[in-house]
Subunit: 378 residues, 4 copies
């Protein structure tokens, strides 16, 4: 690799110094010394507000599932490749497997009877299930069931493996902070055991984690200590669904609960800290009542959304798409997002649009960089 | 009041200065100047370890309920007296209504149709229900049902009233930090409205607080902010019972969960901070498997226990009592407590002893004064 | 001790239930069962705002020093009595050595060549020096000099001893949270070594603590960890004096700095937490420009003040005194304090009134009980 | 820009699926759908430990100053370019002005009488002065002097400008988190006033910030609130020098103080939080006694060092350089650093090597990603 990749061009522009032989000579000196002057780059590096390198984009679930199923036939799962996971590659990020500049999002696929081998890593992760069941994620030897609507956080350096105990393949999405950790360079990765033990192949209805931590407001005294990542390893759909329904019903009764009219929102939290469920990742679930349009809102940092149920229309900056069950889309930093759910014939709460969201917000809140803005009037 | 209540006696003791006319004259000088020398008091004020002014004591539930019922006939509930609450007075604390030097514990009693008027105060409070139902506590206009096994925290300065919507009287216990706040002198108290509005007389099965905050690990984004006192206003018995049963079952399966063999323990926590449910009060629930004796354990600060179910024997320091449903007892600072549940014929988890506990522990943990000690071998 | 100290009198008052034989019988039942009803005590226990058991009071320094000097002749210092310390006893607190319901304040006196033996305790403490020098406090084997204006915090469970290396006696004040810890009952006390070693008799100009922690904004990486009590063991007068002078000078230049016109105020902070210097005690230093009257201000919790320099007039609630160097006075909870410094002929900053203050404020802030109020207009 | 920049090549390698026409067809499908499979990238994205994209590198101060001086003649300072700052470009980071993947380091240069116009930005910044004086940085209208050895933190969104009040040019270094904020995309930037007011052209010896916050352990009560960025705007060389000298002297006396034999280390801290001086940047100062070699140590995250005084030899991973006053070098993530100071003839503390360091450590500690490792034996 060359020691001098710097190239500088003196340009004849109002905001730049006058191009003279002396300036060009100075710039050659900078190159040779591996230096770059601020005045040639400030507009890009220090913009008036975030201008994302990523762009808004939507992936259709059907396409993902089809390709994942074909991978199931052609690509084995095992040590080395580790996971049959296929990542969203934002079209503006140079072909890298990055949904956004900080977040990884992938569909993972496991055939009947298959095992994904044990490993651990500093990257924070989660699984979210939009359809199917039959896989258990084994976290620190605790088998955790995965069913439609379940959210499974997986904080850094927990050992984990997956096994499909069902007679059919199963797909789900993985979210991780791989791009972020790649940028800041703090990653560690260890291989675990190749085979799970017999007790780890159990298929309990509830994980031990849920039995210890899944009771609202009640902490097991023997396990009490603040954990950066949640010890509750599965947030069951039944609870999320009920929490969202309660918010909309409270709104209808005239009480506060929703974040704006027709828009219920819950955040997954770590029961040992009451903070975000993972150190670098925020996860939330939205329910937009049928026929509702949410106010355009933007925030620093990026998000990935997956439609869980219903259909509607989503606009992000200048982009806009129809979305339905399973579709994924990304919202780059500081781009306004508005969600419109399809109006249903009936006015029941079961209509509308259900959306799972994850984002890199904790990075911004913990480092003093978080901002958000809502367009109040439409 | 006299300006000089100080009286000092020069004593002829090895640890005291020799008694001379000059010393006695000096002591008169101290008295006149309102001064007291450390050397005459150090043993009492700075003991080698806590020696509580309180003593261990047990109150039988039957006695409390009988007297409360008689009060129901003789003592009206209304503005001024505010509550038909009858407090435990530790026999070593000079007749003051203090269960321990820092904690108030009382039985409260409400006749059918009665209302306890609205007020608020800096004293942190809770209700715990050992039997009955039919009363709703209205907190900040939100009616919260009270049923057997429910725990209702009531952080300082929340408006609250009670109304009995049932056809029978109902009793429950109140816990507050009245003695502590009396000592440090930070109390404020405001009277509220004399009458509740029609919607506040509703008798919903779940409070709005539960609908917002009662879903495990899920926070309503519209209401998110750290609160010193829990916004979850009712911890339902069904959840507590399930959490305790899960711990004992995990133990039987060979997994961690209990605090010691046969001893399940959950702590009520504030879902916005993951800390203690009230700023000055810790609340916990113990389940001791039938035929189990817990290791003697002591800690700084004092506790009040109420037997919720089962029967057994309790020893605190040199005291020891048989206890059964509803009985209350106090554990003064640094006195060892051991609990023995009655052995039942069957070996089912439903046997044993269920105990609700509250303590002043947060005062100690927040001020760096907490210590505990377990006798490991018996 | 009797098991039934409770005595209840049914009273014929508008706010009490009608006195009937049945009520009197009920009250006998309460007494027998060790119970006290809320309705007979609520006005005292739950007042509309703090009504302190303590009263405002002032002690003159000359009286204290004279009595301390006489004690120097009559009372030896040694193991058992531990310290030649003479405490302020608030005239409304029943003769107990309590300056306020939570705080201990005493004058300590050490003759030339004397040693106060080593011990440690959970009670948080400090020394403040209004005059003299020549004593070193040896904390965890580190000799810390004590000179006029120095503040020496002494967090709980640090070993400490004092030795007078000078040819004259020396007096200073001690502040501790003895009454608070006596109330909540979390005290531990250990005797240390009877004699200091040779190196501990050194009389360095700066303690090792100061050399590690006494540089503004600079932390020694080898010793970094949050400590509930400050590792900086001496806050030198030179620094405090300069900080106060800077505030008044900034005010004169038209910049913010003082808390109100003519009133400079600094708080001693723990460099490992940026919080109060001791877990239960706040310490501050006031400088009131000559001819200034501060706005009446009250807060929950109590304070003790010592005049360090200058003279003036102080009013606390209905009390009012002239004060001068060394005088101590107490401000009970929620009583308004106003300070008026004597007008000097010159307008220099050196005039005015310098006051050291300590209070129990951290107890209130950490437990959610802190309130303050300023009378804005005079 | 194309919507499909993804290119995937099926490779015939043991860790990859067998190359078949079906696999190649599948990979075309991935490309078309903007997807990338994990199994082709895992080795790069999830390495066993950090493998930095940056490389160790050293820049000589003389070269930097010469080029900066030539820029002083050719490049005006003013609105648009904003600053005459010339950044280090790590030779492995593609010509971008990044010293490390997260940190910006630049030499800034101001001619006599010049003003760098006011602006503010979310990027956290600081200045450090290795030589010269005469420039004042005006922060929120407070002129802060800059002299050899001074460290000036500049937390995000503080307005700031610079003006050179001296008769000679002055150079210093700037450190910022520009690359980090560029990656995560949370930047905001505002232009301020083009001209400073008369009072802002003052050249006081101490800033108002220092007068309020520069007294050890003493906080101005009127300004007390936790600030993510330090309100102390100048850490004077005199204090840093004294703190380092004290540590080495304590070591010589046999007391703890240094981080390893002969190696004194202080950390700049925020007096309102006792945490790192900036939300994303840690700043420290090392003094290595003459003739000392520090143990090789590595940590997650990257650092930039500047030699402040003395000379010696530095090794970072496989690289090694002689260094002297002003030289800068970078330590990429997880590469071991060892510093050897030149042995001097005398054994005085004034010999040795003084090094200023800044790093991105707070990003790692706040997000749970920090690790370090010391090679204990050499």
């Amino acid at each position: 690799m060359s020691d001098s990749p710097v190239t500088l061009t003196a340009e004849d522009r109002p905001d730049q110094p006058p191009v003279t032989p002396e300036l060009e000579d100075l710039y050659r000196g900078f190159e040779k010394a591996l230096l770059v002057p601020l005045w040639t780059r400030i507009g890009d590096l220090m913009p008036p507000h975030p201008r994302s390198k990523a762009r808004p984009y939507r992936w259709e679930w059907k396409t993902l599932v089809d390709l994942a199923a074909r991978s199931g036939d052609l690509v084995p799962v095992g040590r080395g490749g580790e996971r049959r996971a296929i990542a969203l590659a934002n079209p503006s990020l140079g072909g890298r497997p990055y949904a956004t500049p900080t977040l990884w999002a992938a569909i993972q696929y496991l055939m009947p009877g298959e095992n994904a081998p044990e490993h651990r890593h500093t990257q924070n992760a989660f699984r979210f299930v939009v359809e199917g069941e039959g896989v258990w994620t084994v976290v620190e030897r605790d088998p955790v069931p995965m069913r439609r609507g379940d959210f499974l956080p997986q904080a850094g350096m927990n050992w984990h493996a997956h096994h499909n105990a069902a007679g059919a393949p199963m797909a789900w999405i993985d979210g991780l902070d791989i791009p972020f950790q790649y940028d800041v360079e703090g990653q560690f990765f260890d291989f675990g055991r190749d085979e799970l033990t017999e007790p780890e192949h159990a298929t309990p209805d509830r994980s031990r984690a849920e039995r210890l931590w899944g009771h609202p407001g009640l902490a097991p005294v023997s396990r009490l200590r603040p954990n950066a990542g949640s010890p509750l390893l599965r947030y069951r759909w039944e609870d999320t669904d009920a929490a969202l329904a309660d918010q909309l019903e409270l709104e209808r009764e005239g009480y506060p609960g929703t974040v704006e009219p027709g828009h219920a929102l819950v955040r997954y939290t770590n029961p040992t800290t009451a903070q975000d469920v993972l150190p670098t990742i925020r996860a939330q679930f939205h329910r937009v009542r049928s026929g509702t349009q949410t106010a355009p809102r933007r925030e620093t940092g990026s998000s990935v959304y997956q439609v869980f149920d219903g259909s509607g229309r989503v606009s992000v900056g200048d982009a806009s798409w129809s979305v339905q069950r399973g579709d994924l889309f990304v919202v780059p930093s500081w781009m306004p997002l508005s969600i419109t759910s399809e109006a249903s014939a009936s006015d029941s709460d079961s209509g509308g649009l259900d959306l799972f969201q994850f984002s890199d917000t904790p990075i911004f809140t913990k480092l003093g960089l978080y901002r958000s803005q809502v367009e109040e009037t439409r």
